[in-house]
């Protein structure tokens, strides 16, 4: 089981309670699709992904970004058992969506960069450490049910 210090818990709940999901969600997903274009393979039915401008103005991608970010809420609310919280989602991503679990890390890295960009100098190393630890646990949990 993952041990969280009080400081780490506070940092994570604070970050997520002040996030504008409608802004950050789309930004993180778009950044992932632009910086790591091979991740577009999972978005064949999402319309025009031809270039960065198209991706950033694609409403289906934006909506999906919001959905994914809200998915992280579950982990924030259940930090002491993220593994169990994501068991079903892990099966979904493995059995139905067939997503290579390494992609979760790519998206997590983009999310960290978007949050860092938003917070600017307020994004300290302590905050980065807590956020990286959190997303690493989430990424691990999402990859758990792949067999």
């Amino acid at each position: 089981m993952v041990e969280w210090s009080d400081s780490e818990r506070n940092i994570i709940t604070s970050i997520f309670s002040s996030l504008d999901y409608d802004d950050i969600g789309p930004k993180a997903l778009c950044r992932c699709l632009i910086v790591y274009p091979w991740t577009q393979r999972y978005f064949g039915g999402y319309g025009n992904l031809y270039n960065a401008t198209a991706i950033k103005s694609n409403p289906l991608i934006a909506a999906h970004g919001v959905k994914v970010l809200h998915g992280l809420d579950r982990a924030v609310k259940n930090m002491d058992d993220i593994k169990a919280t994501y068991a079903e989602l892990s099966v979904l991503h493995s059995e139905k969506l067939h997503v290579d679990p390494d992609n979760f890390r790519l998206l997590a890295d983009c999310l960290a960069i978007v949050i860092a960009g938003k917070m600017g100098p307020a994004f300290t190393s302590e905050i980065q450490a807590a956020l990286q630890k959190f997303v690493a646990v989430v990424v691990n949990a999402l990859g758990r049910q792949y067999h």
Partner: protein, 141 residues
């Protein structure tokens, strides 16, 4: 593959970093807080946040990245001495360059450049840093 447009973007960003190289470098090296295992390579230095050692070491790294960006087609020539140093003397696990340092540098760039660190600029810098660290590790084996 880096397009001419990307090379220009990379050069622009790198040139912006030159006057604040020590600050950017020290911030990127705060990776020691995020990944404490990396501290093992620096037991000979004082790497507490914002220490003189951290700033001067960070500055060296950033200036090397800036210098190599002036002509990306010459990466192997530009990095020849650093390749030898890292492979034979420092022997830092090369996997750490990408996982840890590049990622932390990109985070630092996001913090400093904020909206200017667009998705396309991020992609270009990530590609450049990937090439840089790959060349840096070439002499390891």
């Amino acid at each position: 593959m880096l397009s001419d447009k990307e090379k220009k973007m990379i050069l622009d960003i790198c040139n912006r970093l030159t006057p604040i190289a020590a600050t950017i470098g020290a911030d990127a090296l705060n990776l020691f807080i995020v990944y404490p295992g990396a501290k093992t390579y620096f037991s000979h230095l004082d790497i507490s946040p914002r220490s003189t050692h951290l700033r001067s070491h960070g500055e060296k790294i950033i200036l090397a990245i800036v210098e190599a960006a002036q002509d990306i087609s010459q990466l192997t020539e530009t990095l020849a001495t650093l390749q030898t140093l890292h492979a034979y003397t420092l022997r830092i696990d090369p996997g750490k360059f990408k996982q840890l340092f590049s990622h932390c540098l990109l985070i630092t760039l996001a913090c400093y450049l904020q909206d200017d660190f667009t998705e396309v600029a991020h992609a270009a810098m990530d590609k450049y840093l990937s090439a840089f660290v790959a060349v840096l590790a070439e002499k390891y084996r």
